[in-house]
Symmetry: C2
Subunit: 326 residues, 2 copies
Amino acid sequence: MENRLTSPIPSFLAPIQEDLQLVEQQILSELVNCRPQVLRMIQQTLFSGGKRIRPAIVLLVGNTLGGPKDELIRLAAAIELLHNATLIHDDLIDQAALRHHQPTIHTLCSPQLTVLIGDYLFAYAAKIAAEIDNPGTAKIFAETLITIVDGEITQYSDSRLKPDLSLYEKRIYQKTASLFEASASIAAGLCTTDPTIREAMRSFGNHVGMAFQMMDDVLDIIGTESILGKPVGSDLKQGLLNLPTILYLKDYPDSPYTNRILEGSCLKRDNSDVLQAIRESSAIAKSFEKIDQHLIASQKQLAVLPESSGRHYLLEMVNYLSRRIH
Amino acid sequence: MENRLTSPIPSFLAPIQEDLQLVEQQILSELVNCRPQVLRMIQQTLFSGGKRIRPAIVLLVGNTLGGPKDELIRLAAAIELLHNATLIHDDLIDQAALRHHQPTIHTLCSPQLTVLIGDYLFAYAAKIAAEIDNPGTAKIFAETLITIVDGEITQYSDSRLKPDLSLYEKRIYQKTASLFEASASIAAGLCTTDPTIREAMRSFGNHVGMAFQMMDDVLDIIGTESILGKPVGSDLKQGLLNLPTILYLKDYPDSPYTNRILEGSCLKRDNSDVLQAIRESSAIAKSFEKIDQHLIASQKQLAVLPESSGRHYLLEMVNYLSRRIH
């Protein structure tokens, strides 16, 4: 079994290692005037060992299309900052204690300061996006932020216990795939005016993002705390129906676990028996089927690109995502 | 005694009444897909009877310089949304209960939803700013957000009890004057490439904003709850040293009230005797002197504009601000 957190650097990241370091330098140089206490907490979140999949999409799509290096690095930095800003507010709202094995910011300081640190990263992300000399960048950027926040408001306000696949797909689009889509879409927009390529890259980002979140959902059921960097079964504990859980509920309407989940009895408690039942059910294989559908769809989009090392690495990324577990 | 909350529509707003209604329509049309529950709370904040001074600056500066009407209205809407987004997070952090006589959003829903509603308005403000066809707009916009949040982090993190005028001036620049400056500056940037006019308008906005906040500080001491829409003496209650208080502390180092203020004994309590002492001191007249210096400096900047009805209305605005109390 291989997974993204214990394996060596995936092959598709190797050619952009240097660029990813420039992305980190760009982020740090933006935050140079930040108060030391605040900077320490931001660094803890931003440099906690995430694989930088979103910046990698920006760089790989952009490099493949021969885009301007400096702007791609700044765009990748803006996307990563926006991602982290939403995580900081999200973890505060969900009272999550760990992310990537590290304590979340709201566990290190007051909720008030956590709100402000999130706002601060939004502001820096918006500044970098605005400085990129392309009229579409800041607009897609802001629209994606609207999509993400709208999703968070829905997730926070509505009952989480509706086992509805289309609501689920909308939710993970808003939460995750929209920013993958924006990463690929803005990168393509910086490099080409060809609408076919732009649309293919948008769709590529979308499908990769959907597969990525679905895989996260599966890992939340079948992973281990050391792989995840946070406890297993976090979704169920928060009352969130993730993909394997929804598929389980559909296939086992008469299971006692189905009742327990739907009546909200899994909130804030250990659910190892429920997780075990889902693990041993058909729901896992069916989840992988859905993931594979998105990965295949994403691969198809790459056909618009010229045969090149860049396209090869994007395909590698897709293959890597499909190998995260199975 | 005249004040902005009980007087009829000030004369400088009369020529832009229709435009200000278009600004409100623009805001509502942006938020059309918002959930009804959230929209109701946003409307309560956004339509609680504020005089729209920041949008008025955008429209008056822009009209005077013959700018594009549609873009000025969108810019004014973006500025008002950004302003309200920061207020929503600020009121949550300070646990303020009232603004413009209305309950603040965090008193109507959970802190979690309040964070998200603030984020939502940031996102819409950024979207409108990004849609304005001018490369400088989104950049100044994002930089202003950085300035405001940086100020909030400082105000939240540092001791508030330093009676230091230059720290005070930096704080009110970050909190208030920076957005006035951005309003005038971006409006001018949409209308002219002349650097003298742009710089004069930036400076005009800055001085008007400084005077506006200083006047708010004075009103917090000498006003009444019905004028302010919130309790008198809120700053002192929150441990914030406002302009008259700092000037009082300088002039009366041996007063027992000085001690009480500096040792933090005014926090979260009724301080009517302290307020009374400041009211009867030289600090009020000295505060007005400072306000007048900024208003005179702002008037001077208007000399770069051609003699026109627009310039006349901007002068009217300055005169109106100087008449808010005395």
